[in-house]
């Protein structure tokens, strides 16, 4: 059974059919790329997968469980985490706290216990603190723990966003243009990070990217989206050599 499957997914905005008959199948542990020209509908698909938009057609299945129509929070709990095209960190909070927010649902205690500093608060906070620090270490961010997130260098901000997403213990990680705004060195480091995340956490990753070096460097399979519809799907090299795909990107 595929980890993620969509069947005939579609949505319209006003009169525009933004996504149509979208089928994808991502196996567990895969590094899967979603590419296509600007405005093709890639982020829209991410928004559909995470419940930000509700599809007017089709289904989304995670490990066979139907997630169609569910709210973002429930989809997160079901195991889909994401990062955003424009990095969305909790800017005024510390790096450590950003990760702790990601841990929120896995380390519960009540507001009452928090205000009155009851034993459960102390115990769970300690565990949360340890776990958050571990995650930062894993991503090489531990020295930034007390920085305000908005003061981090750009490349580290992206790593933090991924770390925070991983804190939610997802089954599937969606990365929306993770290399956006990065120079070649930062992109190389990012590629290492993504590979590392897949290995370390046994993660399945679906990413949107324009940077072809990154795409051909780490993605095993690709889906090409054009005008909201699938243009080509398959192994990376086959897809990239497909003449229709080349035309879509470069024009004829």
């Amino acid at each position: 059974m595929a980890l993620l499957e969509t069947k005939n997914l579609g949505i319209s905005f006003g009169g525009l059919r933004a996504v149509n008959a979208f089928d994808i199948s991502v196996e567990k542990g895969q590094l899967y790329g979603l590419i296509g020209p600007n405005g093709a509908g890639k982020t829209t698909i991410f928004n559909l997968l995470t419940g930000v938009y509700q599809p007017d057609e089709g289904a989304i299945l995670l490990e066979g469980v139907n997630l169609t129509g569910k709210r973002t929070i429930d989809i997160c709990k079901a195991g889909i985490a994401r990062t955003f095209q424009n990095i969305r960190l909790f800017g005024d909070m510390t790096v450590l706290d950003n990760v702790k927010v990601g841990l929120h649902n896995h380390y519960p205690y009540s507001t009452f216990e928090g205000i009155f500093r009851l034993p459960r608060y102390r115990k769970v906070e300690k565990e949360m603190n340890t776990k958050a620090k571990e995650l930062l270490e894993v991503f090489g961010l531990e020295s930034y723990a007390d920085y305000q997130a908005k003061n981090l260098p750009y490349g580290q901000q992206r790593k933090l966003e991924i770390a925070r997403a991983m804190a939610t213990e997802p089954k599937l990680l969606l990365l929306d243009e993770p290399a956006a705004g990065m120079n070649p060195n930062e992109t190389k480091e990012l590629m290492e990070t993504i590979r590392f995340v897949r290995e370390r956490f046994d993660m399945t990753i679906l990413l949107i990217e324009h940077d072809m070096k990154l795409v051909s460097g780490i993605c095993e399979k690709l889906t090409v989206l054009n005008f909201g519809e699938v243009l080509a799907q398959g192994d990376t090299q086959d897809v990239l050599n497909n003449p229709e795909v080349i035309t879509a990107y470069l024009g004829s």
Binding site: R88, G91, D92, M93, K100, Y107, Y109, E125, A165
Partner: protein, 355 residues
């Protein structure tokens, strides 16, 4: 090594909080000393409880504005609810329950009433966009004030009577007690408030707010403030946490209202004490003290209430000066050009140091 780092991290925020508590206690001790040695004018003595009231409501508002990140222009309305609910209770049970216990119960009732109203207001309001949210809270504040002004409440051997028209419609017995007399408000509330009580309430408010902030719930609320969409994407229930913060904030404003009500023999819901002008005044305290800065709210509330009384000559100009400082502060802190300028300055001076 790990354990050592953990310990230092936790005590850093606790240390900060302890400074705030210590500051309040220190001021209390100093003031009491000055009062007992006769160094404090009766004018300032009369201001001691109002100081505490303003501090509590400013901290409460900062919870909404600075931590939740939403602008409320109606917090005077929550003060009003707390004030009247507790005053009615205290008046009704003036003879039957001893002072200390009665005031404690009045506090609970005022806080609870304000919390309920805060919750009910929050449900529709917190969905709205920033500036609409602000105006709607203003609207609710005015509605609350107006309704209480039109309220007639009395109790007699037959039970509780209530009317929105006038006192006569209550049809009360001879032995009945008028609790709320429409625009004339509540008369005869026992004078349970004093400086010590006020400071105790400040400390309790601080305890609640500071612990709230440094907990999982506080982090969730701040994450919503910083980036609602990202918060949702990591599984934070935005509606729930917005409501929790707002309700708590309203409840604490209600506590301030209880303190206020038990300092006066007559309680009226006037535009000047429970109208939007009061809400705006508290907002000025919060902004000038630093949005999100709890200690700043305390200092601002006291200074901005004390200064005009002490510097009589400037009293006429005080609101003018506050407004100019407010505008200037906002522009320097929030203007995109100013933010950019400060970031560049920081970068050239330091190269990405600690927060």
């Amino acid at each position: 090594m790990e354990m050592k780092i953990n310990k230092t991290k936790i005590s850093k925020t606790t240390k900060n909080d302890l400074i705030t508590y210590g500051m309040v206690i220190l001021v209390y001790i100093v003031v009491q000393l000055l009062v007992s040695t006769g160094h404090v004018s009766s004018l300032v003595q009369g201001l001691l409880v109002p100081f505490c009231t303003y501090v509590i409501v400013a901290v409460a508002l900062n919870l909404t504005v600075g931590i939740l990140g939403e602008l409320s222009l109606g917090h005077a309305g929550f003060m009003c609810v707390g004030a009247f609910a507790s005053a009615v209770f205290s008046l009704a049970f003036k003879e039957s329950i001893p002072g200390g216990l009665r005031f404690f119960l009045a506090l609970l009732i005022g806080a609870a009433a304000a919390a309920v109203v805060g919750f009910l207001v929050g449900i529709p309001v917190l969905r709205l966009r920033g500036d609409y949210l602000a105006i709607v809270t203003l609207a609710f504040g005015e509605i609350i004030k107006n309704i209480i002004n039109a309220l007639y409440l009395g109790v007699d051997s037959n039970g509780i009577h209530f009317s929105m028209k006038d006192a006569l419609s209550l049809h009360m017995e001879e032995d009945g007690l008028m609790l709320i007399k429409g625009a004339q408000g509540v008369t005869g509330t026992p004078n349970d408030s004093n400086f010590t009580v006020g400071v105790l309430l400040i400390l309790i408010t601080l305890f609640v707010v500071l612990n709230f902030i440094h907990s999982r719930t506080g982090r969730a609320v701040m994450s919503i403030r910083d980036n609602r969409i990202a918060a949702e994407s990591v599984g934070i229930n935005v509606t729930k946490y917005k409501l929790v913060a707002f309700t708590l904030s309203a409840s604490l404003a209600g506590v301030a209202g209880v303190l206020y009500a038990h300092n006066l023999s007559t309680l009226n819901a006037l535009p000047k004490n429970f109208g939007y002008n009061m809400s705006i005044l508290i907002l000025v305290f919060v902004v000038l003290g630093g949005i999100g800065n709890i200690r700043g709210s305390i200092i601002a509330a006291v200074l901005l209430t004390l200064l005009p009384e002490v510097l009589r000559g400037l009293s006429d100009y005080r609101m003018l000066i506050y407004s100019i400082v407010l505008i200037t502060m906002m522009i320097f802190n929030w203007s995109p050009n100013a933010v950019f300028f400060r970031k560049r300055l920081k970068q050239t001076l330091t190269s990405g140091r600690k927060a």
